[in-house]
């Protein structure tokens, strides 16, 4: 994955329609979330609990994965392990091929996006149909999600109406949201009824009971996991929680943080395939546990906190950068603050090293994160790791952003600040010649292209202080 954040950011900032779409959506989401957490004491207690539950599960992760696997298998669920997205794609394809499946209906799953599963299946002659309304819309448009909770947040009604007219037979152009929704329902009902398999993600995996917990509003997740004869779920290994009752506080955090809802319309807990005598539900349930770099990140105590994420999207809704440039600018499956720390860790700083710099470190994301991930600290850590070769095996591509010039400048800066004489000479020199350096000088040019060059004062602060009679600076 290559990323050139600044070029894309520049384009996005010059697209007024896109900016208006995001502004409207983000304002709405922030207001709704705030209304859910008005009681500050409860919010602090609840998120401390949520953070501890996830940290606890991570501390015991290898044990919990084994416990979960044992329970799930006893319940009749097939559990598979994948080290890479290529492994996961291969496993999913093998299961589908073994069942002669030609069409898969999909509930919303970010891990399947991470795997680029649809493209893999298409390449092997299997049709993958997205059934979440937002995902369906961007699949029609041939685009990637721009938000992890609301994938087509970048599109307005007019664009969607046009897409439907172009792609759905006999669909007249209408911007009426009820009519558009009804049209999608009709098309997708047929797809559901004829699908050979359903694919989903999972929000939580419960070690105690071997259950998958999925949340959603539309019912397409329930349909994908119930109507077809085969259900395959894909989930990151960090989705584990220890106990079923750990789900309660996490459910009190996730939908409220994500969309400002007290709860999603459906909470779907799946613990086994169809049992004898039951009339519906898939005859087989498979779960693919995906690593894809997570166990490497896990090796570092600080970076491990990244794996607490419950993918609520609150960090992006509150991010002043995300809300202006939109999700596609990040060039990665996970955009916004969580994407800025997760993508460079999974893909490597050599692939996505510019993402940790796409932040002002304003801390808005940290304040709203329901599981207290120290996103800003991790951003700073990753910037440092990119600049110098690291000793931590958890970081892929450390040192890939090293610049000899930058490093020399900082060494000079350090030396100047460590020696009073050098500091005195240096600041004096700058006050004399600083204003003579042109704004377009080689090292300054990029910085001054969007800022005006500061004017140096004729006298240094030391000199001014001394004139005022202060002896000791």
């Amino acid at each position: 994955m290559t990323s050139d954040f600044s070029t894309r950011a520049h384009d996005a900032l010059n697209n007024p329609q896109l900016r208006a779409n995001f502004r409207r959506a983000m304002d709405g989401l922030m207001t709704k979330r705030a209304a859910q957490f008005e009681d500050k004491d409860n919010w602090h207690a609840l998120r401390a609990r949520g953070a501890a539950i996830k940290a606890r599960a991570l501390a015991r992760l290898p044990d919990l994965l084994e416990e979960f696997e044992q329970k799930a298998i006893a319940n009749g669920i097939n559990v598979h392990w994948a080290e890479t997205t290529a492994d996961a794609n291969r496993i999913v394809l093998e299961i589908l091929t073994a069942h002669g499946a030609k069409k898969v209906i999909k509930g919303k799953s970010m891990v399947s996006e991470e795997m680029h599963l649809n493209a893999h299946l298409e390449a092997h002659g299997i049709k993958a149909v997205e059934s979440d309304l937002g995902e369906y819309i961007i699949q029609l448009a041939g685009e990637a999600p721009s938000h992890i909770v609301m994938p087509c947040i970048h599109k307005n009604k007019g664009e969607i109406a046009q897409l439907f007219t172009d792609n759905i037979e006999n669909q007249p152009y209408t911007e009426d949201v009820d009519a558009l929704t009804a049209a999608a329902r009709q098309v997708l009902r047929r797809e559901f009824a004829s699908a050979d398999a359903g694919l989903s993600g999972a929000n939580f995996l419960v070690a105690e009971t071997g259950s998958l917990v999925l949340i959603e509003n539309e019912g397409n997740g329930r349909l994908s996991t119930t109507l077809p004869p085969l259900h395959i779920a894909v989930a990151g290994i960090e989705k584990l929680v220890e106990k079923l009752d750990d789900v309660a506080p996490l459910l009190a955090l996730l939908p409220r943080s994500a969309t400002g809802q007290a709860i999603t319309t459906y909470v779907n807990m799946i613990s086994s395939p169809r049992k004898a005598g039951e009339k519906d539900g898939p005859r087989q349930v498979h779960l693919v546990l995906l690593d894809n770099g997570r166990s490497r990140v896990y090796a570092d105590e600080q970076l491990r906190d990244t794996l607490r994420c419950i993918r609520c999207g609150a960090c992006m809704n509150h991010c002043p950068v995300y809300s202006r440039v939109g999700g596609h600018t990040y060039g990665s499956v996970y955009p916004g603050p969580i994407g800025k720390i997760l993508t460079p860790q999974l893909a490597g700083l050599d692939c996505a090293g510019d993402l940790p710099h796409a932040s002002t470190l304003c801390n808005a994301c940290v304040e709203v994160c329901p599981v207290q991930i120290p996103i800003a600290d991790i951003l700073v850590r990753l910037r440092t790791e990119a600049a110098e070769p690291s000793t931590s095996p958890a970081v892929k591509g450390a040192g890939s952003g090293h610049s000899a010039v930058e490093s020399a400048v900082w060494k000079g800066w350090q030396a100047m600040y460590a020696h009073p004489a050098a500091y005195k000479v240096g600041t004096k020199a700058l006050s004399v010649v600083g204003n003579l350096i042109p704004a377009a000088a080689p090292l300054l040019k990029q910085w001054t292209s969007v800022r005006s060059k500061p004017k140096f004062a004729a006298k240094t602060l030391h000199e001014l202080a001394r004139e005022k009679g202060y002896d000791h600076e």
Binding site: R24, A25, A45, L46, A48, R49, A52, A55, R56, L58, A59, L65, E66, W81, E83, D87, L133, M150, C152, V177, D178, L180, T181, A182, R185, L188, A193, E208, G210, N217, E218, N220, R222, T226, L227, I237, L244, D245, D246, A248, P249, L251, Q261, A262, I263, T265, Y266, V267, N268, I270, S271, R274, K275, E278, K279, G281, S295, R296, Y298, A299
Partner: protein
């Protein structure tokens, strides 16, 4: 088992072992009038609530269904509902799919209880009331005993002992199916029922 499994677990086990933190105190809210809270919450997400008595609910339901111009109703025979065009979900979905996907106007199911805090029904599908009954027909009628409303999720899980015996599928249902994917504008019935009617039996 697989090599991938061994490698992943080995990497996780080689990482520094951290002390698992304790879970800090947090109390989900309780309510003096659980029925009232349940009603306010589920109505806020477009659910319809009718308070009825345990012996008149069938008559009441007939009236509601007639008002909504419902023709075919899906209901388990043991509910004892009296309706002309009534079918039971008594065949495997493979033989029942067409009817279920587009031939039924309303389905009636029982519930295992409800949650006041979030206005959620607890639905546990079984052989008589399979999973798709509460999902495919455009209207879902749920029967709820007023005495089975708990304060919050943690409480009902504990009280009903979920963790010891998880069924194939356990659902929390809070309102009819909805989406806000198009310009954050709410639309109901995108994939599941467009209407959710709760009959609270007192």
């Amino acid at each position: 088992m697989s090599e991938a499994r061994a490698n992943i677990l080995a990497r996780l086990r080689a990482a520094p072992r951290l002390q698992p933190p304790e879970r800090p105190q947090w109390q989900a809210p309780g309510f003096n009038d659980r029925l009232d809270r349940f009603r306010v919450m589920i109505e806020a997400v477009h659910g319809e609530v009718h308070l009825v008595s345990a012996d008149t609910w069938r008559a009441h339901l007939r009236k509601v269904l007639a008002e909504k111009n419902v023709a075919r109703v899906l209901a388990a025979p043991h509910l004892g509902l009296d309706w002309d065009d009534m079918v039971a979900y008594d065949a495997p979905v493979e033989d029942f799919k067409d009817q279920l996907v587009s031939g039924i106007d309303a389905a009636v199911t029982t519930t295992r209880g409800a949650i006041a805090e979030t206005g959620s029904l607890v639905v546990v599908p079984d052989m008589d009331e399979p999973r798709l009954a509460s999902l495919l027909p455009p209207i879902h009628v749920a029967l709820l005993n007023a005495g089975d409303i708990a304060d919050n999720l943690a409480q009902i899980m504990e009280k009903q002992g979920w963790a010891a015996a998880m069924p194939t599928n356990l659902l929390l249902i809070s309102g009819p199916s909805k989406t806000a994917d198009i310009e954050q504008t709410l639309a109901y019935g995108v994939h599941g029922p467009k209407e959710l009617i709760v009959l609270v039996l007192q």
